[in-house]
Symmetry: C2
Subunit: 148 residues, 2 copies
Amino acid sequence: MHDHQVCINHAMQMAKSVCKRNKQELTPLRQAVLKLIWNSHQPVTAYQILADLSKKRKMVAPPTVYRTLEFLEKNGLIHKIESLKAFIGCSHPDQNHGSVFLICRKCNYVQEELDMHGQSNIDKIVNKNIFLPQSYVIEVIGFCKSCH
Amino acid sequence: MHDHQVCINHAMQMAKSVCKRNKQELTPLRQAVLKLIWNSHQPVTAYQILADLSKKRKMVAPPTVYRTLEFLEKNGLIHKIESLKAFIGCSHPDQNHGSVFLICRKCNYVQEELDMHGQSNIDKIVNKNIFLPQSYVIEVIGFCKSCH
DNA sequence: TATTAACATGTTACATTATAACATAACATC
DNA sequence: GATGTTATGTTATAATGTAACATGTTAATA
Ligand SMILES: [Zn+2]
Ligand SMILES: [Zn+2]
Ligand SMILES: [Zn+2]
Ligand SMILES: [Zn+2]
């Protein structure tokens, strides 16, 4: 357990400054979606967001949600968990980083850990193959400390 | 370039022995799907398989394909590339292993590299968090040697 | 101040990916 | 030949994601 309000406040503050830095607008819609995502440390699907958002505002359609998610992801404010087709707030949007996601199958908590891709065993493989990496998907599925 | 017929033959041989070891049946349907997947080193979607298979045999429905894919995956004969929602033959179905997939955005070639999860930086993170890993999704998206 | 360009959001209609639930077949064992 | 098990077929629908075009909003710029 932790004071999650701190997480939310921090995330929203970060978002403001990141968007400012990137010269991008953090509109009310984008803020609302980001806040919904930060409701928990569990990943949420686009259609969960769609439902939640449609309660708060008038009915929204899928493109609205997907576009907003795209914006947030491009600006490093959220990540997509590919193995779950779901989205989660980025814990470190200010830093340029790769991430390792630890995904608990029982409680759904997702822990994002920084990983400076560059000298890991994965990068050894990348280099050995003369591969030019552009993005990484690194997800570990299992049970978190509390759940096993 | 390489003699891909060798890859196919090897894969089908391996499949036979793996299924025997696992006491599982490699039925004609399952063989057909595996062969279709091994048509190339590029990942194929379930619905591509559905289309191909429906040409070879009588029309098949999605559950037939998804069930077969599930069987093949459970027996370690194929892998799902999560970031592409597509499937690819496993190059090393006989060994118990983790994999790193190098996915070329231009030519779609997917290189599977073995990675004995256990002492990598990812596992350091796993251990630090007292996380009990069950499966890994490790995908690097970029450009292969030939394409950059 | 009208005009334009840009960006953001709304709307409609679909495409793609995946699964639930139930029915039948195929085969082995008793 | 009844029974259980595994594999496959069938129908229907759920869940995820996008293309294309319309409208609104704001801020230069003519
Ligand atoms: Zn929190
Ligand atoms: Zn947990
Ligand atoms: Zn080959
Ligand atoms: Zn390539």
